[in-house]
Symmetry: D2
Subunit: 442 residues, 4 copies
């Protein structure tokens, strides 16, 4: 890899020309399709068995920025953040969702990228190296949904703003440090810094060419540790007709060409009675044929199959236990079941679960939602949702480096006393007010 | 009252002519408005402080029959039941809801009654002496909803068929005994029986005239105890604009002339996020100005304010305690609250509770449902639901006879070991499977 | 009653001599038995139907002070409080529990009272006009236990110190205002004040003589509202052998002469497996013979029958609903039941509940505790705890004055925005952290 | 391995002499220490990823029988079972706990074994090849406790009798088939049967010699599948003084020589207030130094750290979720916490959890129990229980054979429709009455 660093200077010079050569390119939206292919990060097993160390084989180039809508604080932060990335990491191409790009591109004096053709989800998963979100958990869920058809999701760096952020741990005012740490993860350390300001905005000569870590403009990289990653496992979800054929998914979760393959969810899939205040009858089956068994036919407002990540979302409100994201499992949580004896279940992640709309619901449609996004078309009697935890391959031993397939690599916050730790316990206390003590001053 | 019984025979003769004089009247739907005014029953305090003894000042005449729809078993039972009432109690006028009358009247060779004008709810409460239902709890709720604007509801005799009947305790095969017992409650006991079959179908000379107990056709009345009544208290519900003006209710709960007065619910009023899988923000206030206090602003799928009767309905599914119908209280139960620390509350029945749609819901409409019937129009930010338990006046001392104002007088099942007892404990075990024991043989 | 006020001045003069005539009487513990008989307060129904107005027919004289042990802050406060009462209301006799009197009497230069004979509980209920507690809920529970055999409990004025006080609402720094308000409740208002310091420490000539409101030393009484009272209903508890004979209670709940009559609890009665980690089998019966029904035989760590007051105590921790103290009811809450389908129940206060130790427990003893005090001797197979809500008679109409029988008259906090309101809703929020919101700033 | 089978016949002849040579050996208890060393089974990964196939390298010889006490049905079954094993598998040595051996040995006309020296637990884990239990879950827990100090536990074959058996799935009437299947698991299939009755009771020539599968007396082995094993992971538990030194465990969990090492629990470790009805204050820490974090200080009746196996035991009663035994996790479940916001947690099995007795408990001792067995000596302020899931190594790929270290290998029931399946889902329904439907007919 050292080879890459050597050609640093030369490349930077050309890179400059890419971005600033022509004012014509400014305030412009270019097609994401034109960017070079994605850089797949590697991960290294750490001694803290729970977290993995991020390792870029070459620096990330295509950064997707996802923001919460209709929030001026977020909007202001976005501009500051993008300008910082652009000036400090000039090699980086800034990508937005198309509608966002249209709203914001005139704020920047450089071109931004967005998927300009139809198959936006497919493009994201081919091109995006890193996603960064500004907003709350809903923003992270939305970002993840853009990769709902992808077995390999780029790392997500999330800043919580405006609303409760249980999933995204970074404060916005840490953005410079946070971004730098992610950027250099895997780079030979310390990066040699150059003092020559002229050469500091290096980038690749042309899209697709090998890229290396740039010197961060005007600053030495210093010594930095790799970012730590918490792999959040997802659900794999298929929808089926009573005759066994697949039903299509709807955007933002859709495959291209209306393919009806499985999609992935970060929090949960929900079946719910919807607007009509009458109960849903749902049969729950465990396992896959020929080992499939009926667990129960249940009458309820709805059902959730949730990931451990989702255990602090809707499942929590429905009375489910709180499950650490690294417990390899699925939660089956009923919503207002018409039974005194339905207790939430935690099953192994590899357990196939089928939720079948019972015949007794007759005309009634049962609504299905994924990560808080409702499918326009509800499910009718006989239709099924089939769910299983996604399969994840990880490096097995400390120090081993590997590709990760499966899961959403979430960059955990570093710094302070609990540097590089998993912040889950802290979040229980500070955000969920877990076991909040009785008494006056609480 | 003995005066009434003396003229028994004469009246019967004329009564016959009312119903059978002309074949032209058969298979006909007549207007409920033509029937004589309602007979208000009295109640007597019993030594079993929980239950009241039913006392008709004169025999009930106008019986409203409410059935579960689309159920052939129920339909068959209805015909049998109506024919029995008609032949054994020929004085009685059989009333249906209009759409039911249209479906069933051709099965009978005598006229049936239904509200043929608009103000059906108003008519029911002016005319109906007794309601009898065939179906499940939903049927009883529907029957009660026809009296949702009435401070004084006629007694309800309910037969459970087809579905779980937690509210209606009688089995259909007990219908003869059950009906007779209700009919004669308050009659001098034993009624003198006549053996003359010709005279056995007595009734009133003309609508509105004083009526007395008929000899039940071909049978001596024997000695019977008064029916026992469990008073089920209701909620009083008003809907309000943010400017304090009232919103109208919708059928079946509507007042005549689109009056926006309070209505009554037997189970609960529900605020719910509806079809959109996003949380509702609702502020809950306790008490009425100037003593009103904010309890909390809560984020949840929804909220229930429930009667004790409703404590075994939706509130149960949402984790509420089971409250005996005679505990004079209201339940405030959240549905999937986004909080670890929202515990269901039980408040005194006379506590005014206000649920205000919080401004933060912005455009989103929150759905409001009463006893399982959803209002077409949802509530917007600032709108309020105001709820309080209805006021009920009852006789205070054992043996005292009084009018009852408020509550739904529900006729409890008699016979067997626990004759005249409140069957609530039994229902917990046999229907709700309360504390169902672990183990093989269940 | 005006007669009483007229002889004010004369009486005061003699009263002085009672207390200060001889230094020999200082630092002395006198027998509570020597004090005059108790003054039973009356209550008046208020427009705020929930709370009653306290009305002394003549000023309270014998004040029992109950404090939390082993707490120096409480101890310091106690001295300040007693000295204030003594100097401002010199007619008042200060009573302590005997062991407390022995610890504290040397701090005072006047005699204090305590029960010096055996039957202390009997004495308290004959002599005490008002109880005042310094400490937490445990202190209030203890104070109530001293009246566990009394159908009529004197009002309790509680200051919370040191630990969470959900039951006692006053802050200690309000003690002067609080005490004065209680003291003058029912006095003609405004009391005529005299400026003559010599006459300001009036009291009764001799114990037993009629007493009247003293002018509070050196101060005009001004205009004060009556104190507001929240009546907290208790449980009535009996313990029975399998042969139907009663078992005795143990101190502090014991009757005199080891009588085995019912006792009263403010929070709850608890049956529990105790130290052995094996389940208890308990049969629960509802009603009294011949209408008694078996609710269930349950296997659990234990069971609670709780008052609404106790609903925020142990029952809360066991998953019970929060029930407002004015809901006239009993809670049946299981502790760790070996069942998926045991839901807490709320029953009418007049429901007799029997908890019978099942034969299957064989040798094992089940522990029984009342308000957190464990009976030394556990219960064996066949033994029963029988519980029912105490009967309470209250004035029925606004403005009506009456004796109250039953319940613990708890003086609610006045002042501030919610003057004279029931502070229950406030306590839920400030102390129990009810529906504590998620998010950063807590 | 085929070598072993070849010398079958010769060995059998000598083996016979071991057991029947002398009547002097009958009705005798011999020392378990005299038996040959244990045969460690292997396991093979199956296509049903959840279950492992049992593989004996040579036939099991030393069978420990554990029974429920004081149950005549169990006692009768035990005799029948032992006599069957003895006559059909004459090579097998029958082992009992010492007190059981003393009670039962006179029923048998052959010697039985028991640990006659002190270190019984150490002996069991050196000698026992297979444990078989007759009784309920308590019996299985007791059997597991005999291996509480062993990293490698022999397989357990459990017959449920008398009480609910959620852990033991076999019915006693299946004992012949069940035992045979376990016995031959791993044998070349089909075993060659000999028709020579004289040679059918083969056994080893002398203790310690190589042994092979015997022909089951008078019967051909036919073709049998290997038994399927569900590995139930345990907790590793240490008790510590406030100064960091270890506290000893007590029997049946004790190590030899009062060593204070960790022990293993199958269900849970419990901290509880015990007999005194006052709350326990416990600080919960997650992780191990230097990454240890305080989760919370909680006030409760107690706390459970439970395995997934234990999730259907005490944790269930305390409101915990039901966790499948193959979810590699720990449950932290509070018992009656004095908080509205303590939700049960599910943590990765490798999370170290520390429960520290808070200083505020002062003199009070907190009781500690393991799998339902209470330690005589409670824990005082400052003392700690440290818990982590045991580490388990398993074969990674289908068809691979390996030793298992860690976990209790539990033989699942075979036969019928769901042959060789994990019966957990079935148990939820049939035993725990999971989601038992409302309605009349149960
Ligand atoms: N009653 C409830 O609790 C409901 C919860 N939801 C949850 O909302 C999610 C969608 O989120 P939004 O689009 O933002 O909807 P939203 O605007 O309705 O907010 C959902 C809330 O859940 C929080 N949240 C989301 N994921 C979380 C997680 N994994 N852990 C902890 N908190 C989490 C968010 O911070 C936000 O406070 C769904 O996946 C579902 O889990 C949706 C509907 C009802
Ligand atoms: N998740 C839930 O538990 C939901 C419950 N409901 C309840 O359904 C009621 C409307 O009933 P339907 O029109 O029949 O709707 P439905 O056909 O959806 O059935 C509701 C179920 O609740 C039972 N039920 C109704 N009132 C009851 C009571 N007081 N005690 C015990 N069980 C009771 C009925 O027997 C039926 O099994 C609503 O008032 C609401 O309480 C409505 C929606 C969801
Ligand atoms: N796991 C639990 O929650 C347990 C609760 N208790 C409760 O403790 C009571 C005895 O109190 P202490 O002698 O002070 O014992 P304690 O010193 O163990 O404290 C009990 C706690 O309960 C609170 N408390 C008591 N009564 C209350 C009420 N009515 N509403 C709200 N909070 C209340 C107290 O403020 C204190 O925080 C018992 O009557 C029982 O209700 C007793 C044992 C266990
Ligand atoms: N309130 C409760 O639920 C309590 C439960 N226990 C449990 O009892 C266990 C000890 O058992 P025993 O000595 O038989 O005591 P025991 O005679 O008190 O019975 C405990 C009950 O728990 C069942 N059980 C035990 N382990 C189980 C499991 N893993 N899954 C499902 N059910 C299970 C048994 O079948 C029996 O019904 C402890 O490990 C603890 O889990 C102990 C005390 C109280």
């Amino acid at each position: 890899m050292t080879q890459a660093w050597r050609c640093l200077r030369a490349i930077r010079l050309t890179a400059t020309s890419r971005c600033f050569s022509s004012t014509a390119h400014r305030r412009e939206i270019r097609d994401l399709a034109d960017l070079p292919a994605r850089v797949h990060p590697k991960v290294k097993e750490t001694s803290n068995h729970d977290l993995l160390a991020l390792q870029w084989p070459s620096p990330p180039r295509n950064i997707l920025l996802v923001r919460k809508d209709d929030d001026t604080e977020v909007q202001t932060a976005l501009l500051e953040y993008v300008n910082h990335i652009r000036s400090s990491y000039p090699d980086i191409a800034i990508v937005f969702e198309r509608y966002v790009a249209e709203q914001v591109h005139h704020n920047f004096d450089f071109p931004v990228y967005a998927p300009l053709s139809e198959n936006s989800n497919a493009l994201y998963q081919e091109k995006i190296d890193l996603t960064s979100t500004l907003g709350g958990d809903g923003t992270i869920l939305h970002a993840a949904s853009l990769f709902a058809t992808a077995p390999r999701v780029p790392p997500i760096l999330s800043f919580s703003m405006g609303t409760l952020g249980f999933l995204g741990e970074w404060k916005f005012n840490e953005y410079k440090r946070a971004f730098r740490q992610v950027y250099v993860s895997g780079a030979p350390s310390p990066l040699k810094s150059t003092d020559d300001p002229d050469t500091s905005s290096a980038s690749t000569a042309k899209p697709g060419a090998l890229q290396t870590w740039s010197n961060i403009k005007g600053k030495s990289m210093g010594h930095t540790r790799s970012s730590r990653i918490l792999m959040r496992n997802r659900l794999r979800i298929g929808l089926f007709h009573s005759d066994g054929h697949r039903l299509p998914h709807e955007p933002p979760f859709a495959h291209r060409d209306h393919e009806c393959e499985d999609i992935f969810a970060l929090n949960e899939v929900l079946l719910h009675r919807g607007a009509l205040p009458h109960l849903a009858n749902i049969t729950i089956l465990i396992g896959s044929p020929p080992h499939q068994r009926t667990l129960t036919t249940a009458i309820a407002d709805g059902f959730l199959v949730s990931t451990p990540t989702g255990s602090t979302a809707y499942s929590l409100s429905s009375g489910g236990s709180i499950v650490h994201p690294l417990v390899n499992s699925l939660l089956l949580t009923p919503i207002c079941p018409r039974s005194l004896s339905f207790r939430p279940l935690v099953l192994p992640a590899n357990t196939p679960i089928t939720l079948r709309i019972d015949g007794s619901n007759r005309g009634k449609e049962i609504e299905v939602s994924v990560d808080g996004v409702r499918r326009q078309q509800g499910l009718k009697a006989g239709m099924e949702v089939r769910v299983v935890g996604e399969e994840v391959t990880k490096p097995g031993e400390i120090g081993q480096v590997a590709d990760v397939v499966g899961g959403v690599p979430s960059i955990v916050r570093s710094g302070g006393a609990a540097d590089g730790e998993d912040h889950w316990v802290g979040g229980l206390n500070s955000l969920l007010k877990f076991n909040y003590p009785f008494g006056e001053d609480g």
